[in-house]
Structure formats: C-alpha cells, structure tokens
C-alpha cells in the first residue's frame, strides 16, 4: 500500500509517497534529498542517521517512514538561519571537530539538542549524551571542546 505522508522538514511542509516497509532514513535521503544524514551501519549502532523527530533525537534507520506522518523533522540543514551557521556549527569549525566529516551532521545536531536541553553540560554529560554516535576518525576530544565553547551562546537564550 502507498501512503501519502505530510511532514514538516526543517520548517518546510513536504509531502512524499511511501510504502509500508520503507525506512525513514531512505525516504529522507533518497526521496526528500536530505543528504546530511548518513547511512552507515543501518542498524542503530553508529547514530549517523540521527534526526530530531518531534523534538527528540532518533536514529532514522530504525524508524518506519509510515510511522511519522504529520511529524516535524529537523536535520542539521535546519540549524542554519538566514544563511548564517549556528553557534554550534561555527564551534565545530573553530575547533576542527572533525576529520573526514562523515559523522559531523549527526554530532552537530545532537550537540545542538544537548545544549538546548542543558546549556551548561559537564564533560560527563556530554559523553553520556553523545554516546550513541560514533566518529570513526576519533575526534571526540575536539567535539567536546567545541560543545563547551558553544555553550555560552545557548546560555544567553
């Protein structure tokens, strides 16, 4: 059966047709052309397909597309406002918090959500909250530095 989904993706209303057995990750990447999410492990272990689904981080490789009709989805593309990078994106650049960049969209999105929920996280909290995402290059220390430095922008909010 084909379902017509209506979604708000990064603030824009989108409609898309999906079958019962389609995975949200594939629909976002291949049908809606959101390429920041990466398909890497396909089984919920690496977290590179993480999106914000109705305000909660989820791994989109473990979500059926048909489940999320009517939902709001935010990916890292949605953090850019009027062409300006968000503070957390700038902090990642300033601290060189990536090497190959494959995991960066997921880490930026999860870091952004972490700072919204807790603008002044301890190092332990950062590690705990990002524990579900894997950086194959091992830039974790720089990521932690970037989050700490961006935290002041979230405190002002």
């Amino acid at each position: 059966m084909v379902h017509k989904l209506s979604l708000i993706v990064n603030g824009i209303k989108r409609t898309v047709e999906v079958k019962d057995n389609e995975i949200l990750l594939d629909v976002l990447r291949d049908k809606l052309k959101i390429k920041s999410l990466k398909a890497a492990c396909w089984r919920g272990e690496c977290g590179l397909c993480t999106v914000l689904l109705n305000g909660k981080l989820v791994k989109s490789c473990l979500v059926l597309a048909v489940e999320v009709d009517g939902s709001e989805i935010i990916t890292v593309e949605g953090l850019v406002k009027d062409g300006e990078l968000s503070p957390i994106q700038r902090a990642f650049i300033e601290h060189g918090a990536f090497q190959c960049g494959f995991c960066t969209p997921a880490f930026v999105l999860a870091s952004h959500q972490l700072l919204i929920e807790n603008p002044n996280p301890s190092e332990e909290e950062i590690k705990e909250k990002l524990g579900g995402i894997i950086c194959r290059c091992g830039t974790y220390l720089e990521i932690i530095k970037a989050i700490k430095s961006a935290s002041r922008f979230y405190q002002k909010k």
């Binding site: 057995n21 594939d26 272990e45 977290g47 791994k59 473990l62 059926l64």
Partner: protein, 292 residues
C-alpha cells in the same frame, strides 16, 4: 537506497496503527503468528532487516492511550505500560528514589538516542540473554500482564523469559504492562553491568536487599551468563543468615560464582565470567550495605 541486499531493506509487510487495545487485539487474533507488535522498533527493525523474522503484518501500538500508563500507587506498586520508553523512565523521579536497580539499568541500557524510542517491555520481549531490562525486574519480583481478546493473565518476568529469544507469549497475545510490587522504605537495590565498550554485557547483576531486625529478603539476579537470567538462590540464603554482614557478603559472592550455570563464548570464558560474578556481587552488595 536499497542495494538489493536484504540487509538494507525490510521484507514486505502491511503496517497497522490501531488506536485502541481492542483494535490491536483483534488484529493479533486475525493474523496470529504472521503479526508482530512494534513499539519503539529498535529491536524489531534490525531483526527484520536481517530476515531473522519476516512478519507480514506489523502492528504499531504507539498510539494506544491505555498502554502509556506509568503510575505508582502506595501499597500496590509501580505499573509500566507497554509503550513507556527508557527515556521516559529515566526522567521519572520515583524510579530513581524507589526502584534504584531499575533506574540504574535504564541509564546503562544502549545509548540515550536509542532510549528515546526503546521500550522496557520491548526489551523484555526480545529476551536476548545480555539485555539489561529483565535483570532488575526479576530482582523486584515484577510480573508482566498479558492480554488477548478473551483472557488477561499475569506471569512473573522470571518465568516469562524462557530462553534466548523465547518468551511465554502465544499468538493473539500482547504484553500490556509490567507491575513492580511496592517495596518497603528500608529496602535497597542496585544494578551493575560489565561490558568492554560494546553493547554486549559480559555480566549484568541486580540485587534487592531488605535486611532489618524484623524481616530479611534478598534477591540476586544475573544476566548475560547463560541462556536466560538466573537467581543465585544459595548465595541469597547465605545473606539471610545472622552474623557479620561483610563476611556474609564475601561468602555469598563466592557461592554465587560457583552455583550459577555459566557459559563460555567469544566474549568471555566461563572462568572469566565466574570471576566477574564474584567481584561484581561483592562490589554491588558492599555499596548497598554502606548506604544502609
């Protein structure tokens, strides 16, 4: 992006999203063992990708209001509905204060993104030998409530899990909730997990300890050591004796490491797991006793 390999795609099925439990039960009755219930999907979807199971009907229970129950009643205990996620449990203050072992297990289960979707009941129904959820539940003597169109029954979590990926659930039935009995103020409980960076626990252990002048009640539960969670009944008996508690703890830890059925596998040898049982039992019990 399907590369044509099963690993990246899901088998074909019909998706259902019932609004009421009655509707869900009718679907289960109709499709029998061709149907699978899905809540968070974090267990079901990978299993389906790997074609370990290929249900032709997937019944999503997330919209069913009566399964969203999370409620504590003094004297009766805690009820956790089938769609309550680990994240919701983590934020539930009462769990931290009263059911510490479950709180600690919830915090250590998988990662915090998975926990936004994964449900405790899904975790139990997976019945994978190294998962964390069942261990504290068995320590509290929790029961699962199971419904079908014409029956409601309760069974202890310890009996519900029959073996690896094998549970006491017939076609047409659904686990609607878990009930944890109320526990006395003086009772202590805790959970420890030993893993080496992977999600697979080499050992997880929960302890429930009530030691007062009037009453003694002890439960020690171990996971990831064999085909299903197990209690160390002889070690529990040692802790019920009178005497120096620290000495009893040492004796109980040694007894537990000897009495339990333990397997060897690629993650750890039997000897290593027995060693872990001894060390972690001692560590956990000492922590709990120091709190008393």
């Amino acid at each position: 992006m399907s590369f044509g390999s099963p690993y990246f795609t899901l088998p074909e099925f019909t998706y259902h999203k019932p609004k009421t439990l009655r509707e869900a039960l009718e679907l289960l009755e109709k499709y029998g063992d061709e149907a699978k219930v899905m809540a968070g999907g974090v267990g079901l979807i990978p299993f389906m990708k790997e074609r370990l199971i290929s249900p032709t009907h997937v019944i999503d229970i997330k919209e069913i209001a009566e399964l969203k129950k999370l409620e504590y009643k003094k004297g009766e205990g805690l009820t956790i509905g089938a769609t309550i996620t680990f994240s919701e449990l983590e934020k539930y203050q009462l769990l931290k204060e009263k059911y510490r072992a479950l709180y600690q297990a919830v915090k250590l289960a998988s990662d915090n993104i998975i926990r936004n979707r994964a449900t405790l009941i899904g975790n139990i129904c997976e019945a994978i030998p190294w998962v964390d959820g069942p261990i504290p539940l068995i320590a509290y003597g929790a029961e699962v409530e199971i419904k079908s169109l014409d029956e409601v029954r309760r069974t202890p979590v310890a009996d519900f899990i029959k073996g690896p990926v094998e549970i006491d659930l017939k076609p047409g039935e659904i686990v609607t909730s878990i009930h944890l009995p109320d526990i006395p103020e003086e009772a202590k409980s805790g959970f420890l997990k030993f893993n080496t960076g992977s999600e697979f626990a080499l050992l997880n252990i929960a302890a429930y300890l009530l030691i007062t002048a009037k009453k003694k009640d002890v439960r020690l539960v171990y996971g990831a050591i064999s085909s299903k969670p197990a209690r160390a009944l002889e070690a529990e008996k040692i802790l019920l004796r009178d005497g120096d508690l620290n000495a009893l703890i040492s004796m109980a830890a040694i007894k537990a490491s000897e009495e339990l059925e333990v397997i060897s596998d690629v993650l750890a040898s039997e000897d290593y797991r027995r060693h872990l049982i001894k060390i972690l039992t001692m560590k956990l019990l000492k922590e709990l006793v120091e709190e008393v």
